[in-house]
Symmetry: C2
Subunit: 147 residues, 2 copies
């Protein structure tokens, strides 16, 4: 059981933007700060834009920034939107299910309730909680000039 | 985010044994009932034995059976024992972590608490709850003679 890297990287993008609320940041800058690939981050950033979490400003001095106040971004909502739990077990997806006890199996409902509890816990925090005052995160993620 | 097939198949083995408490069952029989590979099930059964959930009787008429009453097998405990969440996100495993904000990142603790909620929900059920009276499961999993 793992959170996908995709969701993980997306959360890092949002946290990085949250740490620098006063300016536009760039994908190459985030990639350098976290030591991650630009391509992966670009894909995440695009979806975060579509979901209404990021704003993109185009052009030479362009970049990305949070599209809402971090206090309004509930972590559970973000992870629900990014993380595909429709295949947490095969019976969650009727189109692909091959398990012969689907429909009469009590485990399925139990796992669904478990995931609900997981997300409810994530609903207790916002991006603002993850960012805090940003000081410690800024120390770990020094801003570097990138091409 | 997915439950591993390994955990999923292991739970099916336990449920199958729970449905036939009066006799020994065999891996080929479970493989046929669920349409799964014997090799995968064997691996799971071996670990379930090591964990004290299954008993193996060797010999020509041998097989496996539950090593405890299903009422005493808490689903959360079983899944905790089988499912590796030590790498749910990379920072859960300090030996392999590469994330630069590990230690100052609030997300890590939030995800840990989320997983705790997930398992707490799974702790509300035992194998006996999953098996019920076994009638519906038996209908879906007809017993077939296998070599």
């Amino acid at each position: 059981m793992r959170l996908t890297s995709y969701t993980n990287y997306s959360l890092r993008i949002l946290m990085y933007c949250g740490v620098h609320p006063e300016r536009l940041v760039t994908i190459p800058e985030i990639a350098t700060a976290f030591g991650l690939s630009r391509a992966h981050l670009l894909k995440s950033a695009r979806q975060l834009g579509q979901l209404g979490y990021l704003q993109t400003v185009r052009g030479r001095n362009g970049g990305i920034r949070l599209a809402r106040l971090p206090e309004q971004m509930i972590v559970g909502d973000i992870v629900r939107a990014l993380e595909d739990t429709s295949e947490f077990v095969e019976c969650f997806n009727p189109a692909r299910n091959q398990c012969r006890i689907a429909g009469v199996c009590e485990l399925s409902g139990l796992l669904r309730r478990g995931l609900q509890r997981f997300y409810e816990e994530l609903d207790t925090a916002t991006l603002a909680d993850l960012v805090g005052d940003g000081r410690e995160l800024r120390l770990r993620l020094p801003v570097v000039e990138v091409a």
